[in-house]
């Protein structure tokens, strides 16, 4: 029989996690295999070529492009400052010369005899890549970056905004079903990864930002609040570069929805410990979900037991329904009928039967569930 793959978000108490830290272009890698690094350590750095600024000298000096080369004061490779003379016309009998000064600082990169265009390259832009998680360097790719490995507890969120950050886990809610409101946020949460329960309100996010929290994580969020937070209506889920001053992650979805109990319990179990989080989400080619990574000590890793096993859809598997009318409910697979089933919409689809903790069962399309990885 064909295997049924059902995508699921990974939530695991223990896994060996590898994370690739790579420069956008070649540069210096600062670590070697075997090094122990902290999340904040710089592991590689480089300089991006500076901004490029074209100046069309042929137009500015009103001459054919081929003649520009003879008028250049600065030549390819020469540094140049703002307002420094770049080129000068020959004038009439050595008089009435006109000079073109550079509007940019940088280096003359090219002078084109075809177009009369000069390219000034600005100063290089430094780029640093940090370790992001506490761990061991297990491989190094020369001039490119490295791979860091660590024993971690790992939570994959469903959606986030904002980039990489680190902090101490601070629980703001007393249960996974409690809404995260502004009153739960305190000044002691400065620099922390604040964990809520169910939906987080816009005011809670605002207050978390005001107290200087690194990130806020909760079950759900209203789209309207996301729109207000970003300042625009998000069209496609490609995020991570927002500069909001805080990283925001939801673990379940949009609307009134509680964090999965197991996720909440796991995060609570690590209260006070450090975590690395990244809100970057890309739901397209190269799907990327936000993540919360909690490094484990040797003893914690041993206690946590086995790594998760990538499972398939089988009876007894824990799952979450991800579409109305049962959106957000968690249960387990109680039957897997082979024959397609007619849905309320009139469509015919492959379904499964899910049993909720209350004992009730429901028929749900297989496309509308996701496995909870253990």
């Amino acid at each position: 029989m064909a295997k049924a793959y059902t995508p699921g978000l990974l939530v695991t108490r223990h896994k060996k996690h590898r994370c690739v830290r790579r420069l956008p272009i070649a540069g210096d890698v600062k670590v070697k295999v075997g090094d122990r690094v902290s999340a904040d350590d710089v592991v590689a750095e480089t300089s991006l070529p500076g901004n490029v600024n074209p100046i069309n000298l042929a137009n500015q000096m009103s001459m054919p492009p081929a003649d520009v080369m003879d008028c250049m004061i600065k030549h390819e490779g020469d540094p140049i400052a703002v307002n420094e003379p770049l080129a000068q016309t020959k004038g009439l009998f050595g008089m009435f010369k006109s000079t073109v000064n550079s509007r940019f600082e940088g280096t003359v990169e090219t002078i084109s005899p075809v177009t009369g265009q000069v390219i000034i390259r600005g100063a290089p832009l430094p780029v640093q890549v940090r370790a992001y998680i506490d761990g061991d360097v297990v491989s190094v790719r020369e001039d490119e970056g490295c791979e860091i490995e660590a024993e971690v507890a790992y939570v994959q969120g469903i959606f986030g905004v904002g980039g990489e950050t680190q902090g101490r886990i601070a629980m703001a809610c007393t249960s996974n079903e409690q809404e995260l409101v502004a009153d739960e946020i305190t000044p002691e949460m400065k620099g922390c990864i604040v964990v809520g329960g169910a939906r987080m309100t816009a005011e809670a996010i605002q207050k978390a930002r005001d107290v200087g929290a690194a990130a806020v994580v909760s079950g759900g969020l209203d789209d309207e609040d996301l729109k207000n937070l970003l300042g625009y209506d998000l069209g496609v889920a490609i995020t991570g570069r927002e500069e909001l001053g805080i990283t925001v992650i939801i673990t379940e979805g949009f609307g009134e929805i509680s964090m999965a109990e197991r996720t909440y319990d796991m995060l609570k179990g690590h209260e006070g410990g450090n975590a690395s989080v990244n809100g970057a989400t890309q739901i397209r080619a190269g799907v990327m979900r936000p993540e919360i990574i909690i490094p484990l000590s040797g003893s914690q890793a041993a206690q946590a037991g086995q790594e998760f096993e990538e499972g398939q859809l089988v009876i007894g598997r824990s799952l979450r329904v991800i579409r109305d009318p049962y959106f957000g409910m968690i249960g387990e697979v109680s039957a897997l009928p082979a024959e397609p089933h007619v849905l309320g919409s009139g469509s015919k689809a492959r379904v499964l039967e899910v049993k909720f903790p209350s004992g009730e069962t429901a028929i749900v399309p297989r496309a509308n569930v996701e496995l909870i990885e253990e």
Binding site: M1, A2, K3, Y5, P7, P24, I25, P49, N51, V52, N53, P54, P65, E109, T110, S112, V114, T115, Q117, I119, R121, E144, I158, F159, D222, D223, L226, D233, L234, G235, V236, A237, G253, F254, G255, T281, I283, R284, A285, G286, V287, E310, I322, R323, D324, P325, F327, P340, V342, L343, G344, S345, G346, S347, K348, A349, V364, P365, A367, N368
Partner: protein, 608 residues
Amino acid sequence: MNQIDPDQIQVILATDCGSTTTKAILIQYVDGEYRQTHRGEAPTTVEKPFADVTMGVVNSVTEIGELAGRRLVDDEGRIITPATDTEGCDIYISTSSAGGGLQMMVAGVIAEMTAASAKRAALGAGSIVMDVIAANDGRRPHDQIQRIRDLRPDMILISGGTDGGTTEKVVQIAELVAPAKPQPRFGSDYSMPIIYAGNIEARDSISEVFSEGGFDLQIVDNLRPVLERENLGPARDKIHDIFLEHVMAQAPGYDKLMGWTGAPIMPTPGAVGDILQTVAKLQNINVVGVDIGGATTDVFSVFDETFNRTVSANLGMSYSISNVCAEATMANVLRWVPFDMDERELRNHVKNKMIRPTTIPQSRESLMFEQAVAREALRLAYKQHKEFATTLKGVQQQRTVGDTFSQETAGQTIVNNMKLDLLVASGGVLSHAPRMHQTAMLLIDAFEPEGVTMLAKDSIFMMPHLGVLASVHPKAAEQVFARDCLIYLGTCVAAKGMPKAGKPCFSWELSGDRSGSGTIHGGEMQLVELAEGETGTISLAPARGMDLGEGPGKKVEREVRGGTVGLILDGRGRSLELPQERVACQATVQGWLDSLEVYTEEVQPAAV
């Protein structure tokens, strides 16, 4: 790839690896003709943790194997070729849009001329055009350079200048691209392919500009050698070559997949374009095809043998659903829904679909809302297509005294709904609609066909498979297209003009396999029985000011073909307008849905 004798081919296996689903079909030679016999599908597996496209292929093929009672995959997980009586296939072919498909940046000198031609070449080859850089695009040079730096294209197409014309401008464009050093999305090992298809005289200068910096420059014939003519073939062919050699080879598992196929893997939209052009030519008709996917909507048109394709990059039903609602506005989406919905809940619902794109509507209300979004996505995509599919701009026209009162100028859209003969729908929301009446209604509401137009849907999104099959076995592709690919929904008769509500819009009389007559009033729709395989002749007498193809008020007679829905008579007028007031709008829309029996209880649902 081994050369295969088409006459020896009895069993054909074809897959299309989409961004979310891999769809496989089996074509077999049965009773002297090629027929599509079984289909299977499975989630595409280009993403982690699988990161190997062949896993999804094997899963979809295994499903077919189970249905067909034919072993198609061996114990090592490879597709079995050649076929025996009980197992394997003679040839395996595939298309792909997985991993975001082919993403390109194009550049030209003048936005409306060479850059537009370059964009047409890129789109025709099946790519997504991320941006068009032109000397007159209104951006300052350093903004253009910054944009090039920010993009992560798979390749860049540069055009500009007619052959023998000035070289300066096109070299200037190249001089912006080269120092920007655009980074390919596949990492630093990948040399950025640059296709130059501009002024032949600038080739040496262009080669000089790209001689350093890790570019892979490929030079082909100018795609606009003279202003009056485009020559897009060489650029399109080169794009296909680079797609195969560079882009596909970078995607996880594709090297393995390329070793399995008996013909080059084609980008999905390129294959769809090929088969639609073939059909338009064979039947001498004007065709519009639409493929609405999760992320993008492709529109293809062939009018008077001129082919155009557009991709609306952020109009789709899952990944981009939120963008559709933002672009169309929620009010425009909700005008198609004949009941009240809580807007806050809907906004959350839309975002949840965006972040979990593979879910399907379980309830009737959920389905109706998604179909309302689809109408808006299709409407916007068609609008963009009409704006792009124009006559060549920049062509000098000699006007005579007879043209004095003609408003026609270069750059007019060539899309003419009155001349449209066949409208073909494909893509999940259209193909998987539980009732074909829903598909027909979506097409009519979004595309607003005028006059007499045949409606069809690609039964199981088979056009990509047939497009690539046509390159190795045209006969099999043609036979399967005619017999199994299209499901005819019926014919739509719609009058252009603004009829008065309740007053006669046009009268009709049908003869042939079915007969009947009547009058359609302004704002009214009617469904007349005309089953699949049935044909007839319809005589139409439009009211004063209304046009059904021969001019306002002029009588029309046309052959019509039936289908799974029937003959649809539309007296709502063109362009279509809905009441502004919410309650009146709901009642109006409900009336139309009832007239066409769009949502009824006793239906035999289609599989999804």
